[in-house]
Amino acid sequence: MPEGTLCNKIPVNTKEELLTLLADKSGKTYYEEMNHLDVDHAALKTTLDKSCKSRIRTWLEICAHCGMCADSCFFYLANNKDPKQVPSYKIQSTLGEIVKRNGNVDNAFMQKTMDIAWGKCTCCNRCGMYCPFGIDMGVMFGYLRGLCFSQGFVPWELKIGSGMHRIYRAQMDVTSEDWVDTCQWRMEENADDWPGLEIPIDKENADIIYTVNAREPKHYPEDLDEAAILFHLAGENWTVPSVGWEETSLAMFAGDWEGCRLQVQAVYDAMERLKPKRMVVTECGHAYRATVIEGPYWAGLKSGKTPVPSFHYVEWVAEALRTGKLKLDPSKKIKEPVTYQDSCNYIRNAGLSDCAREIMSYIAEDFREMRPNREHNFCCGGGGGMNGLGRYREERNVGLKVKRDQILATGAKLVISPCHNCWDAIRDLEEIYKVGIRWSFLKPILLKMVIVPDHMKPVEE
């Protein structure tokens, strides 16, 4: 059975394989090879037998084709209500068929399935909220991605991404040494302005273990500075682990469940090793979903919970502001109209919408809700891996229109977006549609308004 050198059923496990894959410009050879990739029917059937249990089979069976999910999907709305974008159709014509045919599908079918599973769904799970039967197409698309991945039908960037996790335990090529070095560098960098500022590495029994998105040490180390400064001002006893610091999971977007397990295991090991009271993750939505919501199951933790209680950054911020650990100068509240991007992964899928509202009440004078909002908010348009996939760039850009119109309708020009993916999608939608909006994480906004006690200021001579 033809297996490509780049496009095949084996995940990337070595640096050499990773570099070879990276050297294939835009995945040209990779996608060419995909045209000849055989489907291993026996393996697909075995996987279905083992993993496609009653929940998914029932969901596929009971779907009444009522179409209630149609309007819930931003892709459907952004594509002039194209019936092919109705979530139930998308899942029935892909996973539904695979199950019906018991894995007996061909290459063309698998490629079409891949294009739907990654190019027409961000696994935002919004449709699941509107289904009268509670059928969650997002969950099923996640499962479908796993089937596609096991057969080698996965977008080029995500094969790379999952390989990164397998090799570096991070979504980018940031080694443990790079990470520790970056922490030390940022401490030096801020030493003059913030006397006593520390980024404690591998401190045992701290109150908080802080974990990040590899983008931060790689490209945006200021984010790490800001987190450190805010913890410092709040008087937190915190630490970062030298290993197990990365919380994101492109492996989850890819459907590489073994990669997912390896990644979260590294974080859980750090928790076990350093015994912190709790974990706080940076402003990233899918990182939280991967490590806090899904991760325990990947790692086989019977409790379904992380080894120590885990919190999203917005939970920590809300708490720090509520309890006065961080004090804000009320005169510096944001005066202009400002809106908030509810991230699917920690708002809809983890119920943290109140934290976001509480924070906005402390920092904004004119907070404008998007409509719909909270659990009902639309995906930014870049979730589920969509932002990084060249093959589906056009589809992504069309999908962004829904978020654009939602933001414009608020009248706000500033969008607070405590999620890397949302942040990126909103940045891109401004680049593409030029509607004149700005966007920000919470940390830089908080730093502008936080009161710095005199004893924490640098001594001027």
Binding site: L19, L22, A23, D24, K25, S26, E157, I160, G161, Q171, M172, T182, W185, E188, E189, D193, R215, K218, H219, Y220, P221, E222, L250, G382, G385, N387, G388, L389, G390, H420, N421, W423, D424, R427, D428, E461
Partner: protein, 306 residues
Amino acid sequence: MFDKIMFATTGTPVCDNAAHVAFDIAKKYNSKLHMFHVLGLPTRGFGQVVVDTRTGEEESYDLDYISWVGEELKNTYDKYLATCKSCEIDSIAGIPHTEILRKARKIDADLIVMGAHSRQEETGATRYRGAVGTNMQKVARGARCPVLIVSRPCTTCLWYFSNIVFGTDFSKASFSAFLFAYKLAEEIGSKLYIFHSLDLSQVHAGKVVPQEEIEARIQEARKKIEKLYVPHLKGYDNYEVGIWEGIPYVEILKYSRAKNADLIVMAHHTKEVDPDAAILGSTVEQVVLRASCPVASVNHPDKVSG
């Protein structure tokens, strides 16, 4: 004096003057030159796409592209490279100031040389804001070593520098700038001008300052210079102290012109690097934009003390 020089370049004509100076200094001091180029801005997503810093086009970030950019840099600077004993070329995707600072720290650079702004607009004093670029400002502020910013053609070579003007605001960071200016002056044998400008910007708000007060403050500044800096000159007597009053950046430019300065050394330690918030930018930014000679920014003692 400079074992390792880092030349941070955009690879565009904006950096031509800086290239000239960087290679010149490397030649003079037998230094190893690290040419460093941040080739593109990454997306916050994980895609393998970067926006090329020079063309503004989206490119896929892979080994091919990196080596192609390396070749381009070699072609751009071939006439200089021919004269350079040891030069290493490195390109990476990232946020320019972050990667420049990270690299400088990694190679333990003794000097960073860079152009003044990252876009091709003509250098001119009319462009108050943003022109110098937050990248330059952030590098100038964060670097542990001196940062030499070259925005105009530098007619003299560094070892011909005969007049070095050190501008001080008496801050802690200024002392590091002083040490650098003094060491360089001593090394090259040039004249060192220690200059301070009394800040009279408030006259624009209608505040009248009596002449006696100005004169008293000038006396005070002179005493400070004698106390803070002169003892460290260790007998080096080729120096002169100048104290003028006015708007600091204007005065330092006027003074430099009057003294035929070929190098201005200052500390750039303003906290505000957000161009929207720093309406007129910092003094050093204004000086860099307007000066006809290179400006060295020194803020940390790491590479200049001892």
